[in-house]
């Protein structure tokens, strides 16, 4: 049962990512990225990270992707021009990316044997409580610093996108 769910959502994620790469129009890429994020939220639930799954849907799929699609509509983006990519990317890009993937997969297979398994429902029931405890005790300073970061980002976005008066 777990395996079927994992395979289903992993397939959705990979197909979504492949569609992001394949589509020429950025709106379709953005929509397939939303599908990837939804599938990842389901995978987080399978791993027992309920809080992260909820935040993934609300912040990533809800807020960040809406911002992307809003910008795409605001700028009225047309299809991607099929210009020749740089020679370096054309000849070295794919081989190096495959090398990176093979390296990572080989390393992961060696370090994490298949005997280490994730069982759905075997995690602690109070995930949100644990995250909240950590966030407001041990990580309270980084938490407050991120609020300043958000404030600066808001002001930066306003200043950058403002029309010249």
């Amino acid at each position: 049962m777990d395996k079927a769910l994992f395979l289903l959502f992993a397939t959705i994620a990979i197909v979504g990512a492949a569609n992001l790469l394949r589509q020429r129009h950025p709106i379709y890429s953005a929509l397939s990225l939303v599908a990837v994020m939804g599938a990842l939220a389901a995978l987080y639930l399978l791993l027992g990270a309920e809080f992260i799954a909820a935040v993934q849907v609300i912040v990533y799929a809800g807020a960040i992707m809406v911002l992307f699609i809003f910008t795409l509509m605001l700028l009225n983006v047309e299809e991607e021009a099929a210009t020749g990519r740089s020679r370096m990317a054309r000849y070295l890009g794919l081989p190096l990316l495959f090398l990176l993937l093979l390296q990572m997969v080989a390393m992961l297979r060696q370090e994490y044997p298949v005997t280490m398994v994730a069982q759905v429902g075997s995690h602690a029931a109070d995930n949100v409580k644990q995250v909240g405890n950590l966030l407001f005790n041990q990580y309270v300073l980084p938490f407050e610093v991120t609020s300043v970061l958000i404030l600066v980002a808001i002001m930066g976005a306003v200043v950058l996108a403002r029309r010249k008066s």
């Binding site: 395996k3 994992f6 992993a10 994620a13 990979i14 990512a17 492949a18 992001l20 790469l21 950025p26 890429s29 953005a30 990225l33 990837v36 994020m37 990842l40 995978l43 987080y44 399978l46 791993l47 027992g48 990270a49 809080f51 992260i52 993934q56 912040v59 990533y60 807020a63 960040i64 992307f68 910008t71 700028l75 991607e80 021009a81 990519r85 990317a89 890009g93 990316l97 993937l101 990572m104 997969v105 992961l108 994490y112 298949v114 005997t115 280490m116 398994v117 994730a118 995690h123 995250v131 950590l134 966030l135 980084p142 970061l149 958000i150 980002a153 930066g156 976005a157 950058l160 996108a161």
Partner: protein, 100 residues
């Protein structure tokens, strides 16, 4: 019973696909979305390790990654709007003022 390594391999695949988008896509917003895809892949690794080590600390870090991604998206898209106003183009090949 799903091996943890499957989650990690999925994360590696998504990361490489994000990197491929970063290298091959020409639209600057799609390039930006590829960065988001890479961040998501890393988050999946974090959550898988959080399960493996029975520790919630990694999930707090995922939370911070998401906060930084939100801030980055806001500022990045503002910069993209400004670039579009100045150059009437979103093709990364046209934005080469700082290219050596």
């Amino acid at each position: 019973m799903v091996p943890i390594s499957w989650y990690l391999v999925l994360s590696a695949i998504l990361f490489v696909m994000g990197a491929a988008g970063f290298v091959f896509k020409r639209n600057i917003i799609t390039v930006f979305m590829s960065i988001e895809l890479m961040l998501n892949a890393v988050n999946l690794s974090f959550v898988a390790f959080s399960y493996l080590l029975r520790s919630v600390h990694a999930q707090v870090f995922v939370f911070f990654v998401m906060v930084v991604a939100a801030a980055e998206a806001a500022v990045g898209l503002a910069i993209i709007i400004r670039v579009y106003r100045n150059r009437q183009s979103l093709n990364v090949d046209d934005i080469d003022l700082m290219k050596f």
